[in-house]
Assembly symmetry: C2
Homo-oligomer: 249 residues x 2
Amino acid sequence: MVLIGYGNVGFHIADAFRENDAIELLQIYSRSLNTSIDNTIGVPATSSLKELLEADVYILAVPDKAVVKVSNELPFKNRLVVHTSGSVAMDALDSKNYKGVWYPLQTFSKSKKISFSNIPVCVEAERTEDTILLERLGKLVSTSVQKITSQERASLHLAAVFANNFSNHMYEVAQQIVSKKGVDFSLLRPLIEETAKKINTLLPSEAQTGPAARNDTQTIEKHLAALDNEDHKKLYTFITESIQKKLIP
Amino acid sequence: MVLIGYGNVGFHIADAFRENDAIELLQIYSRSLNTSIDNTIGVPATSSLKELLEADVYILAVPDKAVVKVSNELPFKNRLVVHTSGSVAMDALDSKNYKGVWYPLQTFSKSKKISFSNIPVCVEAERTEDTILLERLGKLVSTSVQKITSQERASLHLAAVFANNFSNHMYEVAQQIVSKKGVDFSLLRPLIEETAKKINTLLPSEAQTGPAARNDTQTIEKHLAALDNEDHKKLYTFITESIQKKLIP
């Protein structure tokens, strides 16, 4: 196994693979290589695609925009090359190699240690034998491995923008609202954690509460009057309407 | 201590108080009393305000809309009466008794057991000695007790709508997007949990990632084209713009 790319995703994949004796991580490619990679994770590293070793699978953990370019530039053919992106179709990979996808559905940042074992790994491949290999590789690091088509993966990636980026933006607006009154944002942290935990046992539609869900117009008006940021006001109005639309059959 | 109201909030307060030997929960009032309350939690119960026992503090855990009415109807005066609502000012309580607020900042549902110990309890009272009593009561069940004015509490409650109700709505839209493609929503659960956990160590503004934050117009356009629900499209556009506004100084 050779890992191409050592950004947020590559970093955590390397971390999970390195901890597993059944996985042989032969080499890491990074465009912006510095010797610290080699020293830190104890795997040979290179910054030249020409120096890539022979392997049963090449995992591209590069930015979405770079998938096409890097897969074009690989100096070999008829090998298994997979990308790790939620938003890129499998077909975007160059046809000179066998195509596949190995998509860990999670948000990664280098500064935060994460356990790979409960991250859903969504796999796809052109050839059946490659699907089996990618599933096996998934099961070595995660308890949740799924065969997913490019179309299904696109819907997961779009949904993830709502579930991750957009819910984080709601936290950010909350932060701005309390900061303006000099109130410590950390008071909201237990609420945020519980909100997320709730949907481990309930569907979001079942977990919805608050003034919008119970059509408490008095509180809604009080909130709108208290918001002095036009952007926050528009968000409040629009999301409240969206919640209420869901409730009308 | 007498607890007035046995809905979601009252249920969990009773649970936390009952487990603590230092707190004497004398009685629970519930309008819709049935004998199961008495049997389940081992505390005398009543459905008549006239039968309320004498106590050092009466905690109203009734719906926001009922705070004024119930506090008016209390058949005694010059005792400490506090409500537990985020959105109701302390002054809404009837002036015949001493006023206070004991607000546990969390989302409660009866079906889900919750640990009270990390729930921020925000207290406010007219009289200094009552503030001290409410703080002491808070510290018996929680590690996080704060003195908060009615105005600060209003901003926390408004922020909580974004952090809780609105982020839950983002989960719900995500659920609708993947369900339409027959993809299992539970694949998104680890992502949602990690998104919330991230802000225990990072501020939301630091944790933001995704196509909006990196101004990836290609992915944004792809997502908008994939959304066939007009409401979802509007949400996507509007929240993306709001994220991008934050990034422009």
